[in-house]
Structure formats: structure tokens, C-alpha cells
């Protein structure tokens, strides 16, 4: 299954809370090609996760809309799968039960289901843990199960919401190469949100830098380094340096704004 082209048009989101209205996102315009790997970085609280929720259809946009292959998106769908920060595996199911969850919902016949689950557990090297309980898994293993659970549905768009933020550095680098590998094999269009500039630079074909709240597209950087990449590639280092400059300017600007207000 090929990835889908995404188009975010004037996308904005405001939340109504007890302390008045918060504007999380404002006028985000973005065009993403089929099968592209786009990373989104920004200071914390800039609406990165909100952006993914809007694309996934888990929340409704206040302004603007999301198009997939030219058609507007309404509500959640198994063609756009989110991998959450803390995996969000279901503890009452074992590893197999978690991976086949979406297939059961879609009423995929048993034989087909078993075959697809086995294949995807093998691609994340967890075939030995097919019947392990969720609490028996380490953080990295949980995220691999979550990846298998997402990819087994052959999504056209893969949305990753800081999936490796809670992992330690070694596991994180290992997972980054796993993700690159899986992305190349599945061909799914991937939107990867992170607050780690280095991670964004290694993984993304394009790196979208969001501004401080409300989140707006501040700049888009291109990364043409050949895959598989590591942090030591000169091209990657250059992207990291430039992203950091932009983010620093963003933080400084918002600090100045705060000072002016005081």
C-alpha cells in the first residue's frame, strides 16, 4: 500500500478551558508528498501533538481542514494510525492481542489475521514475545509492539507522537533505525513529532519548525542526506545547527514578548 499525500489547509485549533481560551495552533499550511517522512519540532506546548490529533481525526479543527489525496478528512480512521508517546498498549491483552486489535475491529478473517500478526511481530523482532503480557515488556519493546500494531493495519499515513521521548539514549537510537527501516518498507507517509532536534534531523526528509504558542510554521528545512542516516553525517549536523538557531530565536522572541507584557 502506498502512502497518501497530505494537505493541511489553514489548520487552527483553540481549546476552551477554565482560564479562558487557549490557541494551540494557528493557520498551519503544509503539503506533504506521498511516502514522505516529515518531522515536526518545536518548543514544548507549541501544539505539536494537537497537530497530529487533528490529522488523525481524534479532534476537530477550529479552523481549516486536512486533505488526504485531495479529499477532506472527517473523524478517525484506520488509514491514519497514531503511535503514542507511552505506547498506549492494552494491558488486558497480550502482545498478539494488541497487534491484532485493529484487524479484529475490521473483522479480518482469522487465518489472514494470524499470518499478518506473525509477519509484523517478526519485522520488529518480537516473535518470541507473541504471548507476553504488556507489563513484562521494556519501554523499547512496548514501542516496537505499538509500531507493529500500527503497521499491521497498512496505514497510508503513520503519525508518531514523540514515540521515543521516554526511552533512554541507546534504545532511542536503535528505535530510530528501526523506524527508518520500517518506513522504507511500508511506504507510509509519516509525520513524526518530537522535541528532540537531533532526532528530527536524522529522521526527516523535511523538518518543520513550529513557533511558540500559538503554533505556526516558522520554517521548513530540507534534509537530503542519504539513508540510513546517523547523527554524525555532516548534512545531518548542518540541519541540527540550523534548526537549533531557529528554535533559539523562537524562544528568545517569546521571552521578549513576555518581558514586554510585564
Amino acid at each position: 500500500m502506498k502512502g497518501a499525500a497530505l494537505k493541511l489547509v489553514m489548520l487552527g485549533k483553540r481549546f476552551k478551558g477554565k482560564s479562558g481560551e487557549t490557541e494551540a495552533l494557528r493557520d498551519v499550511n503544509l503539503q506533504i508528498r506521498e511516502g514522505e517522512f516529515v518531522t515536526i519540532v518545536g518548543p514544548s506546548g507549541c501544539g505539536k501533538s494537537t497537530l497530529l490529533s487533528l490529522v488523525a481525526g481524534l479532534e476537530d479543527a477550529t479552523t481549516g481542514w486536512v486533505e488526504m489525496d485531495g479529499k477532506r478528512v472527517h473523524g478517525p480512521g484506520a488509514d491514519r494510525i497514531v503511535v503514542f508517546q507511552d505506547a498506549a498498549l492494552f494491558p488486558w491483552l497480550d502482545v498478539t492481542g494488541n497487534v491484532e486489535f485493529g484487524l479484529r475491529v475490521a473483522r479480518v478473517p482469522r487465518r489472514d489475521r494470524k499470518e499478518r500478526v506473525a509477519r509484523h511481530l517478526a519485522t520488529v523482532q518480537l516473535e518470541k514475545f507473541a504471548h507476553a503480557r504488556v507489563h513484562e515488556l521494556s519501554g523499547g519493546m512496548k514501542q516496537r509492539v505499538a509500531l507493529a500494531r500500527a503497521l499491521v493495519l497498512r496505514p497510508r499515513v503513520l503519525l508518531m507522537d514523540e514515540p521515543f521521548a521516554a526511552l533512554d539514549v541507546q534504545i532511542r537510537e536503535e528505535m530510530q533505525s528501526v523506524v527508518q527501516d520500517l518506513w522504507q518498507r511500508s511506504g507510509a507517509t509519516t509525520l513524526f513529532v518530537t522535541h528532540d532536534v537531533r532526532e528530527a534531523a536524522v529522521l526527516g526528509d523535511r523538518i518543520v519548525v513550529l513557533s511558540h504558542r500559538p503554533g505556526m510554521v516558522s520554517q521548513i528545512l530540507e534534509n537530503h542526506a542519504p539513508r540510513p542516516r546517523t547523527l554524525k553525517d555532516p548534512a545531518v549536523e548542518e540541519v541540527i545547527r540550523r534548526s537549533n538557531e531557529i528554535l533559539k530565536a523562537e524562544v528568545q522572541w517569546s521571552n521578549n514578548q513576555t518581558k514586554l507584557l510585564l
Binding site: A88, L93, F101, L126
Partner: protein, 315 residues
């Protein structure tokens, strides 16, 4: 790289250990029971309490008599059947109410205080109302059992459903689950431990309500076996065998009472509830007469109930 989870230690079973060893955790419990019975017996033997306080041998004898006459077995069976039916119905109704409360948050917020209030209402207080509605019948016992537990169950169920982490629901919706599928696949399994403890609470509420109602009236059941009612004066071994009655006898005609009670003759028992009165009023199209009849029945129930109170002459 694949990390290995911790291996659970394998517990080896010693085949030489005896059956008694397997039940050693029961020893303290049995010891407490033995001590309690001895103390009880001493209190009775020394006459510390004096009035109407049967000792363990009396109680044991009564138990044997009951057992031999099959009264105890039938009482247990009758009570358990009512309990099972009433408990299951309050689970179903409670689950339905809890679902509505969680699904429609405004409705839940609005109704929660009232349900809490009704939950704290003593279930025994429903008995007079139930008697008026359903008469001296099995329905009354079931009604009291259900209404005594359904509110507690629905509050506990609603709380259980609210413990489900929203992230699970988001993840499941994301994978295409929705509506009833989402409830059955995610909400219920995620809340299952809390749902089970909610059901346990419901069980104890139902049990208390039913025994309470059986104390007031019933011809078969555990609550009915309690001493001090029906003129048996605590001597159940003197109580005649329960006869095969098709329907409950009115209290004053109970064969357990040796002599008819003194005072004016009580009114006849209630044969029917307002449903019958309503049906009669329909057939005669005379609402006023039906209301008058219902009022008379309420007064009659009033008298039956005051008659049932334990203020009667003990001998």
C-alpha cells in the same frame, strides 16, 4: 537487540506435604471459632445474660431439627434463588443506568445526587411501599432486593467506567473502533477489576435488603427463620413442619402461632396490588371507587404491619 524480561521463579511443590499442611492457613480461623463457642457456652451456663439467651447446644439442636425437617435447606434454597434473581436484575439495571450516566455526562451530573440519596435510603423502608404495590408476594421481596442494591451498583459501575484512561479510548478509536464495539472491546475490559468490585458491593447490598424484607414477611427463607417472630419465641425446634402452601398465609393465620392473638380480629390479607384495582376501575370505569378500595387496602396493610411488629404479648 532484544531485551529479556525477568524470568518468574519456578515454585517447586513438595509432594510429601500432607493435606493438613495445605489447609494450615485455616488454623487461626478455626481457633477463633472454638474460643468464641466456649465463651458463649460459659456465658449461658453461668447465666450472665439471664433472659432468652440460648447456648451453643440449643442452637446446635435447633439446627439439627431444622436440617432433618428440610426446612433449613428449603429456606436456604428460597433465599438464594431470590438473591440470585434480584442480584442479576440489579446488575443489569445498574449497568444500564451507569452506561447512561457516563455516556451522557449532563444526565449523569443531574441524576447522581438523587441516586446517591436513594442509595443511602435504608432498603427496609421500601417494604411498606412494596407491600402496597405488590401485596404479600414474591414480587415484593424481589423488588426490595433490587431497589436496595441497584443504586449502589449503578454508582459503583459509573465510577468504574470513569476510571478508564482516555488514552486507551483514543488509541482504539484511532484503530477504527467506535460505539458498541469500543465499549465491548475497550471500556469493559479496561474497567473490569473495578466492575467486579462494584458487583461485590451490589451483592452485599442485595443480601442485606433481602434478609431485611424476609424478616418482615415471608413463609420460606432465611430471614423468616429468625427467632422472635411468628410466636415461636425462639424455640424453632417446637415449630411445626412447614406445610405445602401455595401462597403465603396471612400473618395472623400463621400455623406457627399456637393460639390466636388477643384483641380485635385483624383484617383479611391483601390479595392484590394497585394493578388489580386499576384493572377493576377500568372495567367499571369508576375511578373513585377504585381509589377508595386502594385506600382501604393501604389502611389494611397498615394494620397488618403494626400487627407484625414484635410488641405482642410474649406468651
Amino acid at each position: 537487540m532484544v531485551e529479556q524480561p525477568d524470568q518468574a521463579p519456578v515454585v517447586a511443590r513438595n509432594p510429601e506435604r500432607s493435606l493438613a499442611w495445605e489447609f494450615r492457613h485455616l488454623v487461626p480461623m478455626v481457633a477463633v471459632a472454638v474460643v468464641a463457642v466456649v465463651v458463649w457456652d460459659l456465658i449461658v451456663r453461668w447465666g450472665v445474660w439471664g433472659i432468652l439467651f440460648p447456648g451453643p447446644t440449643d442452637v446446635g439442636h435447633a439446627l439439627v431439627v431444622f436440617w432433618n425437617s428440610t426446612r433449613l435447606v428449603r429456606a436456604i434454597a428460597a433465599t438464594l434463588r431470590r438473591l440470585a434473581v434480584g442480584f442479576l436484575m440489579s446488575l443489569v439495571l445498574g449497568a444500564l443506568l451507569a452506561f447512561l450516566m457516563v455516556r451522557f455526562a449532563t444526565f449523569g451530573k443531574g441524576i447522581q445526587p438523587y441516586i446517591l440519596g436513594l442509595q443511602t435510603f435504608p432498603s427496609i423502608a421500601w417494604v411498606p411501599l412494596a407491600l402496597i404495590w405488590f401485596g404479600l408476594s414474591e414480587t415484593t421481596l424481589l423488588f426490595v432486593t433490587i431497589i436496595g442494591s441497584v443504586f449502589g451498583v449503578s454508582i459503583a459501575f459509573a465510577d468504574a467506567l470513569r476510571t478508564v484512561p482516555p488514552l486507551y479510548l483514543r488509541a482504539a478509536r484511532n484503530m477504527g473502533s467506535d460505539g458498541m464495539d469500543l465499549i465491548l472491546r475497550v471500556t469493559v475490559p479496561a474497567a473490569l477489576p473495578h466492575l467486579i468490585s462494584a458487583a461485590k458491593v451490589g451483592w452485599s447490598f442485595a443480601w442485606r435488603s433481602l434478609i431485611g424484607a424476609e424478616l418482615i414477611f415471608a413463609t420460606v427463607g432465611l430471614g423468616f427463620l429468625r427467632p422472635g417472630y411468628r410466636g415461636s419465641h425462639g424455640r424453632h425446634d417446637r415449630y411445626p413442619r412447614d406445610r405445602d402452601r401455595r401462597r403465603p398465609a396471612p400473618l395472623h393465620q400463621d400455623p406457627g402461632v399456637g393460639e390466636p392473638p388477643e384483641g380485635p380480629r385483624p383484617p383479611p390479607m391483601i390479595e392484590s396490588g394497585p394493578a388489580v384495582a386499576w384493572a377493576q376501575s377500568r372495567s367499571k370505569t369508576n375511578l373513585a371507587a377504585a381509589m377508595k378500595r386502594t385506600m382501604m387496602k393501604i389502611r389494611a396493610t397498615d394494620r397488618v404491619l403494626s400487627f407484625a411488629s414484635p410488641h405482642r404479648d410474649p406468651r
